[in-house]
Amino acid sequence: MSAPGGPSPRRPAFAPLAEETRAAMRRLMARYPNPRSALMSMLYLVQAEHGCVSEAGIEEVAGMLDLTKAEVASVATFYTMLKREPLGRYLVSVCTQPPCALAGAGSLRRALEEELGVGFGQTTPDGAITLEEVECVCVCDGAPAVQVNYESYEHLTPEAAVELVRKLRSGGAVPPPVHGSVPVPREAIHRELAGLGGHDPDRGGGES
């Protein structure tokens, strides 16, 4: 897709989607009176497999839904959870809206940037973590809040945040959030966002 303001940066070429992924997409399409409703879910599946909404994925989805690539890209570029650059294994999202800002989101951000050596919108060179800014994830009662692959960690101190990303990077056991589930890696969470699986009773039934 053309990036705003210029030619799109070079992006790795991705293999065609796996046959299972296509089969899953067809199941998603069948869920709705109009298959196009599955478009965003299908793009999540592309993200699960390629780490971002790849050009190969856009082409496949367009073909399956009988849309042009322009139509698919038009949707893909509208939503912030659909990414154009490959995500790290974990996406760490720091909320900077007032409740979190008042509670110290600024120092969280600085600590994380220092620890990871990357800024908002960037991914660590080892591909483990993508850091981003978000606009209120509506866990203001847990400010400052950070999401890791969309699981919320509340009341984080800069030290706890650094500890958390170290564990995420090293593959060690990650502390559970105050309520919610332990984050799963990129592929699993995007499959779940697509509407596939995820209602695993244990994960859904975690501590509240």
């Binding site: 939503y79 809206q97 409740p99 203001c140 969309y150």
Partner: protein, 424 residues
């Protein structure tokens, strides 16, 4: 603590495993559905009308009236639950889904019975992974127990609930943008007319209701409209969940009858301002509160009519609290940035106006503002408010109006100091 909550929607929240169907059934869950399915649909709608239930998504539109617009005789019709909660400061719908998803599903089936919908959708904000997981699990439990699916409670009524996750766009909380998104398109609002009640999802008659709104429904059906009206005020009946956050000791969701004074919520339930500081400001209704209230408004009763009479809007009931060392200009600059990023881009005033205002406010906050900027900001916001395609544009005027109306001295201080005079 002097005050206590009035737990109707949040009654099960303290229970262990409150999100499971076992816990729900053990405490009377789905009894209202059984009762509703034995009541003619029109009578269910009537009950909701008489109860005076008003939409909790922000606009306060009477829910029963909305249901009454639906022509039931031409199926299919749809119910869509708006679970896209994204207004900064609001977190009630998330917790309602996390802690009592069955209450929501029960409400959805009742509402669907009333409007004749065989299918309904929960449009859940994409970032709410945990809440969505809870809802998804609850849906499968409900199918297992027969409170969803074919022939519910032997009534002959079939109903399916489909969970649909968003992908990151605040505008998709706006009901017609939500429908576009649910149809796999860019979440940009639709022209009205036709209204969703005439041509909504897939161009069929559709009702869109907020999570909290729908969660009220089982209680109205179970206990009757009169019981519901015992809470709250004449014009704002029932209880309301207020999301209190910011500089308070115990941020959280608090359920109280409409009309409870803000002071009770902030000072008593939420434990007052942290660190013994003083209140400077609070939002009565999230980032879109136009304007934010100063400390003098602490005794405003939290219901639609009183907040409006005091000059602002109740919105979603999200109370972000700012202590006296917090910079309101900075907070408003953040809100402005939020709206600029979340503007969908469809209409000129909101797209260009938020782009412009975000630049002015950034300048102001950074101490590079000029005296004329205050007037310019007011002029620009006046060209957005009431002129934009949807209410996001109106919301986006809140930060400017708040600064100009209540905190203009702080703004001037930024200009004079060439920087922010506050700690935070």
């Amino acid at each position: 603590m002097k005050a206590a909550q009035t737990r109707v929607l949040t009654a099960r929240w303290g229970d262990r495993g409150s999100h499971t169907i076992a816990a729900s059934l053990a405490s009377g869950g789905y009894e209202a559905l059984r009762k509703a399915l034995a009541t003619p649909p029109a009578a269910v709608t009537e009950m909701v009308k008489v109860a005076g239930l008003r939409g909790r998504g922000g606009a306060g539109f009477p829910t029963g009236v909305k249901w009454g617009f639906i022509k039931r005789d031409e199926p299919p019709t749809y119910l869509v639950c708006n679970a896209d909660e994204g207004e900064p400061g609001t977190f009630k719908d998330r917790e309602l889904m996390e802690r009592d998803p069955h209450q929501l599903i029960e409400g959805m089936v009742i509402a669907s019975w009333a409007i004749g919908a065989a299918e309904s959708y929960v449009y859940c904000r994409g970032e709410f992974a945990f809440a969505a997981r809870r809802v998804e699990r609850a849906i499968s439990e409900a199918y297992e127990r027969g409170t969803l699916g074919r022939n519910i409670f032997g009534s002959g009524f079939d109903h399916d609930v489909i969970l649909h996750r968003g992908a990151g766009a605040y505008i998709c909380g706006e009901e017609t943008a939500l429908l576009e998104s649910l149809e796999g398109r860019r979440g940009q609002p639709r022209v009205r007319p036709p209204f969703p009640a005439q041509e909504g999802l897939y161009a069929r008659p559709t009702v869109i209701n907020n999570v909290e709104t729908i969660s009220c429904v089982p209680h109205i059906v179970a206990n009757g409209p009169e019981w519901f009206r015992k809470f709250g005020t004449e014009k704002s009946p029932g209880t309301k969940i207020f999301s209190v956050s910011g500089d308070v000791e115990r941020p959280g969701n608090y359920e109280v009858p409409f009309g409870t004074p803000a002071r009770v919520l902030i000072e008593e339930l939420a434990g007052g301002i942290t660190g013994g500081r003083k209140l400077k400001a609070y939002t009565p209704g999230g980032a879109s509160s136009t304007p934010v209230f100063g400390a003098s408004k602490l005794d405003v009763n939290m219901d639609w009519e009183s907040v409006q009479a005091a000059g602002s809007l109740l919105g979603t009931g999200a109370m972000m609290v700012f202590a006296d060392d917090a910079c309101v200009v900075r907070a408003m600059e953040r809100f402005m940035r939020f709206y600029a990023r979340e503007s969908c881009g469809k209409c000129t005033p909101c797209r260009e106006g938020t782009y412009w205002l975000a630049q002015i406010m950034r300048r102001l906050e950074a101490g590079q503002g000029r005296d004329e900027d205050l007037d310019l900001m007011m002029d620009v916001q006046a060209n957005i408010g009431g002129r934009s395609f949807c209410a996001l544009g109106d919301f986006a005027t809140a930060p400017v109006i708040s600064v100009a109306k209540e905190f203009v001295d702080e703004a001037r201080l930024h200009i004079r100091n060439k920087g922010c005079p506050f700690e935070r």
